[in-house]
Amino acid sequence: MDWTLLAERLFGKEHGIARDGDFLRGEVEFDGEPLAVIGTTAHAPIGVQLALAQARAVLDVVTHQPGRAILLLIDTQGQQLRRRDELLGINRAMAHLGMCIDLARRRGHRVIGLVYDQALSGGFITSGLIADACDALPEAEIRVMRLPAMARVTKLPESLLAELSESNPVFAPGVRNYVAMGGVRRLWQGDLAQALRDALADAPTQDRRAEDGAARGGRRLAASVVQRVLDAA
């Protein structure tokens, strides 16, 4: 979904979210409460600069609006694939973004991620996947890598990967598979404002994704392996 349409459906025409390049930032009012919106659009590649822009926004909320809820709007093609970004430490910049979000959570900010268009690997892991909860729109797309690239890296035939991606949630792209595995808490259907209201109301503070994945049948082993490590003699 286009971000402006999403913003209007959530917050009305005067939503107050501004776009600067691929970066989105806004202070909106929702149900009479202030809410910080931070995100990206246009399938943004997340390089050092865009990771830092988001981190700056999170730090500013933590500093100036203690406790204010944060909505992360996610639309990314993944990490920026450039040598300069690697030279400058893109992994460190992404870790920094993730740690800023994590700090906000620990200081009592509710942080909700919403994949409203596309989410891939590196751009997703330090945004939605480190929030209290990550939700998605039903038409959004989530994956790690495109199948041709995956075939090249894994040296497996693309036809086999295409076939598997029809049936296997661990493997196949798609938001419903991420729901089944617990990585996405739920999909926002129908009234989006009500979905946001619900998301803010029941944001978990503990990481329940492995348990959710087991209960939903999409990721059967993770939670039990964690428990076995805790119980090992």
Binding site: V48, L87, G89, A95
Partner: protein, 286 residues
């Protein structure tokens, strides 16, 4: 001198911690394998490519994990990731003096991509819980496969990073960047370029790793012992400092390491690739 890079994960552990002190949880005898590889016609490993357990280091209680680069490049799958998460959760409960992560990984294991991606994010959160409890997390990087992708992010979530000069720490591998933007963007076969961009010396000069050692298990052991009390609380002030440091990097205009090293005050930066670790330290840049 024993090459850290040439050791297996368990060999590294055996020589890094106090002799005979490593006690493994869910060892290969438990035959805990990935359920996702058989359908791809691929062999599984009875530890899913990571050894975890407790040990002592200089007499101090530590929890340890070592990724095996020989198995699927150390890629994080569902079970592999859950073992790491379990180790951090157990550390939160049992309070060792530190957690050591001997990282060697290409990142998310693409063969179980979605589960691996979620698992890496669970590792990040579990690691940060351990740090928030004041228990230092020390990451050691010196395997032939480097530390990439999600594990490159995990490494920078730790308190302390130790690298050898042949270790590599980054996000995307040079092959992936070359495939995406062409050989003129990143020539993955130019080994000197790859190491200048992602290798231990560059990471040490730029401050992305805290200690630089030779490719020697004893060097890693000494650096790990020195880091045992290196807990760095994650505070708002600390993240503001980190932000300032990273933001300053954006003023560097270019993709080449040597002029970057010059801007850091490294004398004769073109010589850096030829210097050994002692000589590099002797430059007095850090």
């Amino acid at each position: 001198m024993i090459s850290y890079a040439e050791c297996s994960a368990r060999e590294r552990l055996a020589q890094l911690v106090d002799a005979g002190s490593f006690h493994e949880w869910l060892p290969p005898a438990a035959r805990l394998t990935s359920p996702h590889l058989a359908q791809l016609g691929l062999p599984a490993a009875f530890d899913d490519g990571v050894a975890i357990g407790r040990a002592t280091l200089a007499g101090r209680a530590v929890f340890v994990a070592a990724q095996e680069g020989e198995f699927m490049g150390g890629g994080v799958g569902e079970v592999h990731g859950a073992k790491l998460v379990g180790l951090f959760k157990r550390a939160l409960r049992d309070r060792p003096d530190a957690v050591l992560l001997l990282a060697e990984s290409g990142g998310v294991r693409l063969h179980e991509a979605n589960a691996g991606l979620i698992a890496v994010s669970e590792v990040m959160r579990a690691l940060l819980d351990v740090r928030a409890a004041g228990i230092p997390v020390i990451v050691l990087i010196g395997g032939a496969n480097g530390c990439f992708g999600g594990m490159g992010i995990v490494a920078r979530c730790a308190d302390h990073v130790v690298m050898s000069d042949i270790g590599r720490l980054a996000m995307s591998g040079p092959e992936v960047i070359e495939a995406s933007h062409g050989v003129e963007e990143f020539d993955s076969r130019d080994r000197a370029l790859v190491w200048r961009t992602t290798g231990g010396k560059h990471r040490w000069l730029s401050g992305d790793c805290d200690a630089l050692v030779e490719d020697d298990v004893a060097g890693f052991r000494a650096a790990a012992i020195a880091a045992l009390d290196a807990a760095r609380p994650v505070t708002l002030a600390a993240l503001e400092d980190e932000h300032e440091l990273l933001a300053a990097r954006l003023s560097y205009d270019g993709a080449e390491a040597i002029p970057l090293w010059a801007s850091l005050g490294v004398p004769e930066p073109g010589r850096v690739p030829d210097l050994d670790v002692a000589a590099l330290r002797g430059l007095g840049v850090r």
